[in-house]
């Protein structure tokens, strides 16, 4: 399903020609240039430029075929799906690092990858205006040093799969005798680790550190002379956006939201403070915990009056009417709550947000330091996606069964009926439909050794990996449908009028007239209704405006929907990498 979605994305972002190329690659796997020519039936020149565009935008890997040395290209699905999040990236960069950073990120996203001089060129920054140039250079430096941008290396264009297979077979060759499943898994892990290490190394070289020439590749020889705290941005390195770094912001937002839902605003505030304070050392969503941080540090961060007000209003002390509760006491209470200190059971520890390290370095009184438990939280977030799907499709009854099976493991129908207090005759069809959605699976336990299906018990359980991947598939399908719907609305909404009106609006004279009208209306807003009458006619009729606003409303609805689905995809796919898998597939849980 993600294949069709990728084609749609490419179609929307790059147009129909590239979409045919993408489609051919997605349906047929890696292809050589002549093969592509045949399947796409494009002219060689067109195809070549299509490939160039896609490679420039990091959507294609290329590699030499191990057998005959022919050059083949391969589609990078993950990179393509990340494109859906580009808008968020720009927004995040703007809100975190300011407008110049946002502009830089946008320019880079528009062009795939760029060197610093190219960025400045596209932004229209000339060396003559030193002040503006400085602002952008600083923003760029900040983006690179905090890894919002990463250098584009040779390795990032080569499909990692060949190497992975090669490393894996190397590891497997080391195993003597018949390999066990565990050894095979370990071999896979080592291979993956080695690949990741290599990538890291490559990116480190690309990073600009210190003005001294590196003779690794011919690409970078000269260094920028703009020096800031002994590191500078290497002018010759191509930079691209690092989705991983942006992903941590998305993740942190989700965690904060979860804390707000579970407890209240005050608790969310504390979580946000901890995440914010440790943000600089979070690079990857696969981290298990944040750095430990002391309570006094958090208190210091949350000392503004509005924060204090929020913190204290969220707690009810029985005798609080007379004396004021200090801020640090409140924070300690919240931390206790967030780390499930009142529930030292296994359920309690599965529901915690924070943990306390006991290994405090000799400083008594303050206790240990606080960490955010990403691993635990993400596990819960993912489970919550599963539960909400169950609730949405099968109501509380479905949710009850799924939760029971998640908690208790494998069970048969009668046990389920007993624990959930539901009549068996309503459980049976529910289980069948749940299993058709892969939310639950059956586990056969044969009564006899011949494994005859008629003499077999079937126990129900939740196979998390299958359930998650099915949900993810459905989400991609939904995204695809949203795209299709949007296209349909634009192409033939209101009997095709939307398209015509949109085209008309794009005309030079119409746009100017409309802009004039807008400014006039804004300036004379105090006139109220009268302003409408007095306004210039513009070149769009009343009816055309209605069509436009109707279309905009639909567009907005679709976008909101898309954002929600995206959130689910993010939790299931990107955060799923925590549990293994370097290349973001869902094969292991």
């Amino acid at each position: 399903m993600s294949d069709e979605l990728c084609t749609k994305i490419i179609l929307q972002h790059f147009g129909p020609l590239t979409a045919t190329v993408a489609n051919a690659l997605l349906t047929r796997g890696r292809l050589t240039f002549p093969q592509l020519l045949r399947y796409t039936q494009l002219k060689p020149r067109t195809l070549r430029s299509c490939l160039l565009v896609l490679i420039q935008h990091n959507v294609l890997w290329h590699t030499t075929h191990p057998d005959d040395g022919a050059e083949v290209v391969e589609f990078n699905v993950d990179e393509c799906l990340v494109r859906l999040r580009f808008g968020t990236f720009v927004c995040l960069a703007e809100s975190i690092l300011g407008n110049p950073a946002g502009e830089i990120v946008q320019i880079i996203l528009d062009h795939g990858k760029l060197t610093p001089p190219q960025i400045f060129h596209h932004l229209g920054v000339t060396p003559s205006n030193a002040k503006i140039k400085l602002r952008y250079t600083q923003a760029l430096h900040q983006l690179v040093s905090s890894r919002y941008l990463k250098p584009s290396t040779v390795l990032s264009h080569i499909s990692p799969k060949d190497k992975l297979i090669q490393y894996e077979s190397e590891e497997k060759a080391k195993i003597s005798g018949f390999p066990t499943a565990r050894q095979l898994r370990e071999a896979k892990e080592t291979a993956r680790g080695r690949l990741k290490q290599e990538e890291k190394e490559a990116e480190k070289i690309g990073l600009k550190k210190k003005p001294q020439p590196q003779a690794k590749t011919s690409k970078r020889k000269t260094m920028s002379d703009m020096s800031q705290d002994d590191t500078v941005v290497d002018d010759t390195v191509y930079f691209r956006v690092n989705p991983e770094k942006f992903a941590i912001h998305l993740r942190n937002e989700l965690i904060e939201k979860a804390a707000r839902e579970r407890f209240n605003e005050g608790a969310a505030l504390v979580v946000r403070a901890i995440l914010k304070l440790t943000e600089n050392n979070q690079f990857d969503v696969s981290e298990v915990k944040t750095d430990p941080i002391s309570i006094s540090n958090i208190t210091l961060h949350l000392s503004s009056p509005s924060d204090e007000e929020k913190l204290s209003s969220g707690l009810i002390f029985s005798s609080s009417s007379s004396k004021k509760i200090s801020n640090s006491t409140c924070i300690k209470e919240y931390i206790g709550m967030l780390s499930s200190a009142d529930n030292p059971t296994s359920q309690g520890s599965a529901a915690k947000f924070l943990s306390t390290t006991r290994a405090s370095s000799g400083r008594g009184g303050g206790g240990g330091k606080i960490q955010v438990e990403f691993d635990v939280i993400i596990r819960r977030l993912r489970r919550r996606v599963l539960e909400s799907v169950a609730r949405e499709k099968y109501g509380t009854e479905g949710l009850r069964i799924v939760r029971l099976l998640l908690d208790e493991g494998k069970m048969d129908e009668k046990q389920i009926a007993k624990s959930t207090l539901m009549p068996p005759q309503s459980i049976r069809p529910l289980l069948t439909s749940l299993s058709s959605d892969s939310l639950v699976s059956t586990y056969p336990v044969p009564k006899t050794s011949d494994r005859n299906p008629t003499r077999t018990f079937y126990l129900w359980y939740v196979d998390l990996a299958t359930a998650y991947s099915t949900i993810l598939d459905k989400m991609y399908k939904t995204l695809f449908n949203i795209y299709a719907r949007r296209e349909e609305e634009r192409e033939s909404g209101a009997n095709g009028m939307v398209k015509k009106v949109l085209e008309k609006r794009e005309r030079e004279d119409v746009r100017e007239a409309e802009e004039r009208r807008e400014t006039w209306l804004r300036e004379n807003a105090w006139l109220g209704e009268a302003a409408m009458k007095g306004a210039e006619e513009g070149l769009l009729s009343e009816w055309e405006r209605e069509v436009l606003s109707e279309w905009a409303r639909k567009e907005e609805k679709l976008t909101v929907l898309e954002t929600r689905v995206q959130e689910g995809v993010f939790i299931l796919k990107d955060l799923g990498r925590v549990f293994g898998t370097g290349t973001g597939s869902l094969e292991e849980e």
């Binding site: 839902e261 009142d342 207090l421």
Partner: protein, 276 residues
């Protein structure tokens, strides 16, 4: 056990019969009988008569010691018109107690033909000696037990069943009541209404009790008492029943279980704030 020689019991015989009925299980061993009537001949005669009339039934355990089980007069009256087969069937139904017995099991135990069993059951039911009881677990089985015996919980399914069907509405109303009790105890009073309306969507979300002064979360016993006071139902609910309801709420993600407070007895349930 013919009823031909009908005469009332003589003194010795009735003494034996009374003594047997007086014991806990209506049984009398040969030794006990000896104590009552020391004379060998008289005892033998009395026992033989009692056995022939049907007031006594011979029993023997594994070790071979002989004992007698007394049959009360009324019991004898009701069964005296029955055929041997009917008595056999009735005996098995009787031993099944309040669990009842399935006709299929009856068949294997008695080794009688199905038709015979059916006929026996029919006459026994007509005489109001046995009754058919529905089973919750096996709705299709024909299960019989003695008239006047209350069916066991495993047959009726306990308080959750009404006319052999799970009373989902009843369960739902009770779980809601439990949830309300727990919610009221878990959240501070004056902000609760706010929470009930808008959920966590309110301005700052609900205010909470601080953890150091956490409220006394209700135990299942307390919830039981509260439900009793609220007079929601006439059916007596045990702690186990309440815990079944609470487990359903836990499964629904509405509440969560907390380790019992200070003293560590009883289970507390606390609210799982919003279905996280």
């Amino acid at each position: 056990m013919s009823t031909t020689n009908k005469r009332p019991l003589n003194e010795l015989e009735s003494r034996l019969h009374q003594a047997a009925l007086a014991t806990a299980n209506n049984e009398l061993t040969a030794k006990q009988a000896e104590a009552i009537i020391p004379d060998n001949k008289a005892r033998q005669k009395a026992l033989n008569f009692l056995l022939s009339v049907g007031y006594f039934r011979p029993l023997s355990d594994k070790k071979g010691t002989v004992a007698f089980r007394a049959v009360s007069k009324s019991e004898l009256e009701s069964t005296k018109d029955l055929t041997e087969e009917e008595k056999l069937v009735l005996g098995h139904i009787k031993t099944s107690g309040n669990e009842g017995i399935w006709t299929k099991h009856l068949k294997t135990k008695t080794n009688l033909h199905q038709n015979v069993i059916d006929r026996c059951i029919k006459t026994l039911t007509q005489k109001k000696l046995i009754k058919r009881v529905p089973s919750v677990q096996h709705p299709t089985r024909k299960i019989y037990m003695l008239e006047g015996v209350e069916p066991s919980v495993s047959l009726t399914g306990g308080p959750w069943y009404q006319d052999n069907e799970l009373d989902t509405e009843f369960i739902e109303s009770l779980t809601k009541a439990c949830f309300k009790i727990i919610r009221d105890a878990s959240f501070p009073q004056h902000r609760r209404s706010h929470h009930a309306e808008g959920g966590a969507g309110g301005a700052g979300g609900p205010a909470l009790y601080p953890i150091s002064k956490s409220p006394q979360y209700p135990t299942s016993q307390q919830i039981r008492n509260a439900l009793k006071q609220a007079r929601l139902t006439d059916i007596e609910l045990s702690i186990e029943h309440i815990e079944m309801l609470l487990n359903v709420l836990v499964l629904d993600g509405e509440i969560e279980k907390v380790r019992g407070n200070v003293m560590g007895f009883g289970k507390s349930f606390s609210l799982f704030l919003t279905g996280n």
